[in-house]
Amino acid sequence: MSFLKSFLLLLCLLTGFSGAVIAQEDLESLRPLVNALAEGKFKETEQQVADLAATGNPAVAPLLEALGNGDLQFRKSDKAVFITRSAGKGYQLIDPLTHEVAGEASRSEVTKIKVNNGLRRSIRAALGSLTLMAKDPDVRKTAAAAIFKAKDPEAIESLDTAIAKESDDDVRLVMEQARAAAVLNSDGGDADRLEAIDVLASMGNRDALSLLTGFAASAEGEQKAAADKAITRINKSLALWGNAQNIWYGVSLGSVLLLAAIGLAITFGVMGVINMAHGEMVMIGAYVTFMVQEMIRSSAPWLFDYSLLIALPLAFVISGGIGMAIERGVIRWLYGRPLETLLATWGISLMLQQAVRSIFGPTNQEVGNPSWMSGAFELGQLTITYNRMWIIVFALLVFAGLMLVLKKTPFGLFTRAVTQNRRMAASMGIRTPWIDALTFGLGSGIAGIAGVALSQIDNVSPNLGQGYIIDSFMVVVFGGVGNLWGTLVGAMTLGVVNKFLEPYAGAVLGKILVLVFIILFIQKRPRGLFALKGRAVEA
């Protein structure tokens, strides 16, 4: 009965709003019908329930629900009917129509209106038809969905009436599906059932599949054949949706990889600097988010929904600043010596990790999701969570923004000039050291804002960056160094491939396979997917 309860609860909530419009006299006109319940045997009660339902007034629903649960009693003194709630030794009396508390009564003062199983069934049907007729389409839809789950053959009749009257296409569809479910559960004729199988087949989800599988197990002849056919059809469409879901997860993982790798694509891809502390820039971005949220929690909780927007520029500036300091302090002395750069930046990453560990402690920090990033919605058979969706959007925005900066701004022009021919650029009057520092700062800053996004889906701990560094390098190398589009395609490909491998190989083995795949791939195309071919350079 839990489904009934839950949908009635919803109903009460809904009618709580719409019910206010219903005039008081409407309710009072029901009063005699309600009080009539105090009289008569089961047979009469059944008739009375039907009469109440026939009014189509949603206010009747809680009353019938109470009746079904045995909570409807009448006062012996005046035969007035109340919904009762245990209160101490006696009962609290609640008016069945207005839901106002109408006093108390001891146990001996009231008598329960008796129900048996037959009556309960009628109540359920009455409730069903009552809600199927409700004014609010959402209520009607919920009711139909509840019937679908209950597969109650008794509801077929009320569904038929409701379908005939229904004006909303969406709701009618749900009602027809509910009817089909009920029909399969009843002992209807061939034609009726085949039609029902058809309806369920076009529904195409797991619910329909389990219904049909259950049915096919006991069905015979033409019906069984039809059901089996429907099952294959649903399985096919489910497999399609499954692929779509995998692609979605893959794109989601790909966007995370893209965020982590895109800063690296600049420092490694454009500048040729191997920055092993890149992951720590991401980690610092995540900690900036944490600090911003801490401050908001303690001083301005109403700003919480904007915490990420506040953290973004801060993370960019802080990570970017640290990046520039690293470039000026260490990396600039090592240009042209990539292996040394790799080692020095690894040392820096160790120090940054330890610094964060000393300041914030080694444990995970709590970073909350703002309301617009929590929850999920459904698209067909896909479940899409808001945080994943926003991260994909965000990753693409960052990518587009970066492309714009590099292609359309003077800074981007200078950067490309310096990376292509440093001496020529210098002789054109470009301050190459500044461009180096700014480019490195840009790459690091982007890592910082990636950290803001990743704080929403990953544990914020000093080791956060370590988990991304190898993957990010793989993405950049796979996509082709020096090519941002390659990074995009590389990230998405690796994300999707990873998610498609997971169901077959498991998460860990999937990851290993991807690594092996990349190792083999680099053998074939040592310069990545989108390698820039050039004139063979001298030894």
Binding site: L532, K533, G534, R535, A536, E538, A539
Partner: protein
Amino acid sequence: MTRQSSLLYLDGVSVSFDGFKALNELSLVIAPGEMRAIIGPNGAGKTTMMDVITGKTKPDSGEVYFNGVVDLTGEDEASIAELGIGRKFQKPTVFESHTVWDNLELALKAPRGPFSTLFHIISGGEKTRIEELLALIRLSDKRNELAANLSHGQKQWLEIGMLLAQDPKLLLVDEPAAGMTDAETMETAELLKDIARTHSVVVVEHDMHFIRALGVKVTCLAEGSVLAEGSLDHVSANERVVEVYLGR
């Protein structure tokens, strides 16, 4: 000349990088014992041609044969070097952290496998040969100097010495006179002429004085194919050669 009787035979070789045609239907034949000078403006495809012959770049189309029978397009750098084609780079590349002696010893014709070199003990004959080469390239007193400490001209000579140590049938020499004084340039020309007596040589050079000093057949390349071929006077009288050089 037919392919069979040639030492080096290039026919219809094309190479392109991202749409840019570095070599365009290039055909060139070098006879055994010949010395040939190749000239051409920047981007004419001289270095790419060397890359194709030595196996560094694979041609998109065309034939490259050595000794008339060996298809070079199927071989890698190491095996082409072992076949007897030596190359000197435009920028002198010697092994800077090795001594002059060691540079020559490494280049000396000997088995090239890891295990032969692991157990290799230098023989008297090899020592004599290195001494000879040191004398030839005038670095005898620098034998224990690190190659990194040599002057630019000395590095060029050391590289030529290494080329000779390989004892190749064909030498490809890319701008040997670049960065040399006039006196050094002339000495280098003499050295190359000396070498040409016993080897086939292809020289790429910009310096017309140098080419004149060599006094050999000249091929002018432009935009990836042969523009003119013949004596230097013949080639420099060619109107189109003048055109590409002066950029009219």
